[in-house]
């Protein structure tokens, strides 16, 4: 992930709240931006003046454009190849997972019912993609006399 901004595309109020709570606890440094439908993703990415996200967390089944449509649209444009697309769904349909992979999704993650598990699944997914960023090292040079926030 190039930035700590995560775009969450989710239509369910309960899931939005749970995702915000889970990531807020496990990764307080990660900023979240929410979109309630798939149709808003491409306009958000292409609009000037907005910080690009490093990862998009996508619900699979949403009214209108679902997660798979978003993956196809984003991957159709070469400039977002570095953007991590994570499909987060309770669907058990293996064909859907394969379709998402074929379309260019990076992860297809199971959405658990239990909150502790839900939080762990999201935390591990973020940890994985944050640790695998190619060519980006976190360097912090604090001004003299100041403490380090990160190392």
């Amino acid at each position: 992930m190039e930035t700590d901004l995560v775009l969450v595309v989710e239509d369910s109020d309960e899931d939005i709240e749970a995702i915000a709570r889970a990531i807020g606890r496990s990764h307080p440094d990660v900023r979240l931006e929410f979109l309630r439908s798939g149709s808003g993703v491409l306009p958000r990415l292409t609009a000037g003046g907005h910080e690009p996200p490093g990862l998009v967390l996508l619900d699979l089944n949403m009214p209108g454009e679902g997660g798979l449509d978003v993956v196809r649209q984003v991957r159709a444009r070469g400039e977002y190849d570095g953007l991590r697309l994570v499909v987060f769904t309770s669907s058990e349909n293996q064909a859907e997972a394969e379709a998402c992979y074929a379309a260019g999704a990076d992860s297809y993650i199971y959405k658990p019912i239990n909150f502790a598990l839900f939080q762990s699944v999201l935390a591990q997914t973020l940890d994985y993609w944050r640790s695998r960023e190619p060519n980006v090292t976190q360097i912090v040079v604090p001004p003299p006399g100041e403490s380090s926030a990160q190392a």
């Binding site: 992979y101 990076d106 003299p144």
Partner: protein, 523 residues
């Protein structure tokens, strides 16, 4: 007094922090405030080996060129506060001595705090303060480890519960093999593969990874896949009922301390093995039942001139025993066609034996020229003679060529009435009647006649069709059958039987036999 207050605040805050990341911000500043302190450096040691995981500081920044110096000054093991002479760059910035202390916490990253002081500092006092801060830090790390342990246990418990639920929800082998790794990734591992032994060789039957592209690349390399199936620490045996049925392989891409304990992975593997074994056994049994069912039915139907025949047999959902439905068609030398259908009550081996006997008895007698009434009566006598408690519903349609069509004589022993589909009008039910065979010494049979013209179709079936229920609990006979027949009125006869049987949500077996009078009779 000032230090006492700072220490008090420190203890209060140390028990509320939620991550190790917050610790340095908490414990280093009060030390930096002490008189004569030039810098406070914190090192977080790797739980294994000599590595340092993180560098923190207050005052003189612990930049990369100073990190080696800090590591050299750090005590090699936990113990009381030490005072060391400052060297190198520390001297250049006015520090003369370094007060150092290290702590360890089993299973966790230990830490060192180095306090660089100048000549004005009261080294004894700084040493006392550092010892107290180390005590707070140690306690905070212990507490964080405990909380994390609890959380991880909670996640593992939830995973086992959810995985059991998911695995129990399906009896389909493919689904089970997919659900196991899907549940495990990424909560407990970055990747998970299921190998099942087939003819002694491991066959990959399920694979999930948090990084789908990495998994894709891995699966394209047969050597790598083969290697993964080899015994290894995280390639656990799938053992069910004393047999090793496969291997559950976990792939980790996380710090060693975040890898779940082997005992937990074994527990998950044990549950997965049971679920996989259950679904495999179920699948095998179902295949056997379906094969045996095939043996009880004619392998092919005759092709009498002027008629088109089609039949189908649908095994009910979740049925693991051979059902008792049967059908057959015989053509006599004189061109008469006898179609028979029946249903032995109950399931299983006994019912299957009776099914075979009933079909062959009826078919043989009808073939030899016995009337349907006589054939059914003979079968009834056999059942009564055997003392079987099972009864059989059965019916025979005897079709005799007549003018351009066929005369049909329907004889029924408690069997559902057939459907007659006539070109251009709605389908209608024929007459049923009679009492099932095996109940009365003298069978009571219902008989009726009808005529079939060109294009007409007679559909015979067992009660699995009419008594199947839809999601609302409504029987197919009440509404679905008429609608399906209407939709299928022009369909080829094989499509008709296939479609009819799949239209009904079969919980019981369904046998269907349809006969249509060809448009140009005598072809």
């Amino acid at each position: 007094m000032e230090w006492a207050a700072a220490l008090h605040r420190l203890w209060g805050a140390a028990v509320t922090i939620g991550s190790r990341e917050q610790l340095a911000e908490l414990v280093l500043p009060p030390l930096q405030e002490l008189p004569g302190v030039r810098a406070v450096w914190g090192l977080r040691h790797a739980p294994r080996g000599d590595g340092v995981l993180a560098y923190r500081w207050k005052g003189l920044p612990l930049t990369s060129d100073l990190q080696e110096l800090a590591e050299r000054l750090a005590p090699g093991q936990a113990g009381p506060v030490q005072v060391i002479d400052a060297t190198g760059e520390l001297r250049e910035c006015g520090a003369t001595r370094v007060v150092a202390a290290r702590f360890e916490q089993p299973g966790e990253a230990g830490g060192t705090i180095l306090v660089a002081v100048d000549d004005t500092a009261d080294v004894t006092f700084v040493g006392q303060c550092l010892a107290q801060v180390v005590e707070v830090t140690h306690e905070a790390v212990r507490r964080l480890s405990e909380v994390r342990g609890d959380q991880e246990q909670q996640v593992r418990d939830a995973l086992l519960a959810e995985a059991s639920l998911q695995m129990d929800a399906v009896l389909d082998t493919e689904q089970t093999m997919y659900r196991v790794p899907r549940m495990a990734v990424p909560a407990i591992a970055e990747g998970c593969l299921v190998f099942v032994y087939e003819d002694g060789k491991p066959v990959l039957r399920g694979a999930v990874h948090v990084d789908m592209r990495r998994l894709g690349a891995l699966l394209r390399d047969p050597d790598a896949v083969r290697q993964l199936a080899e015994p290894a620490e995280y390639a656990l045996e799938l053992r069910a009922r004393g047999r090793v049925i496969g291997r559950l392989v976990f792939l980790f891409d996380r710090p060693a301390e975040r890898i779940p304990p082997l005992s937990f992975l074994r527990d998950l593997a044990a549950r997965a093995a049971l679920a996989i074994d259950n679904s495999t056994q179920y699948e095998q049994r179902r295949q056997e039942v379906m094969r045996m069912q095939q043996h009880l039915l004619p392998t092919r139907l005759p092709r009498p001139a002027g008629l088109e025949l089609a039949a189908s047999y649908t095994v009910g959902d979740r049925v693991l025993e051979v059902g008792g439905d049967f059908y057959d068609v015989v053509v006599r030398d004189d061109g008469t066609v006898a179609a028979l259908i029946g249903d032995v009550c109950g399931r299983g081996v006994d019912a299957a034996a009776l099914t075979g006997m009933a079909r062959h008895t009826l078919a043989a007698l009808l073939q030899e020229g016995s009337s349907p009434r006589r054939a059914l009566t003979r079968l009834n006598s056999r059942l009564r003679l055997n003392g079987s408690w099972r009864f059989i519903t059965a019916a025979v349609a005897l079709l005799t060529p007549h003018d351009n069509g066929w005369a049909v004589e329907w004889t029924s022993a408690g069997h559902p009435a057939p459907v007659i589909m006539r070109g251009g009008s709605d389908a209608a039910r024929g007459a049923g009647g009679g009492v099932p065979l095996g109940i009365l010494d003298l069978p009571q049979l219902g008989s009726s006649t009808l005529r079939m013209e060109q294009g007409d179709t007679l559909v015979m079936f067992t009660d699995g069709l009419t008594e199947s229920r839809d999601g609302d609990g409504l029987m197919f006979e009440q509404d679905g059958l008429a609608r399906a027949l209407d939709r299928l009125r022009d369909a080829p006869v094989q499509t008709l039987v296939d479609d009819l049987s799949s239209s009904a949500a079969a919980s019981d077996d369904i046998a269907l036999l349809a006969m249509r009078v060809k448009e140009s009779s005598g072809d």
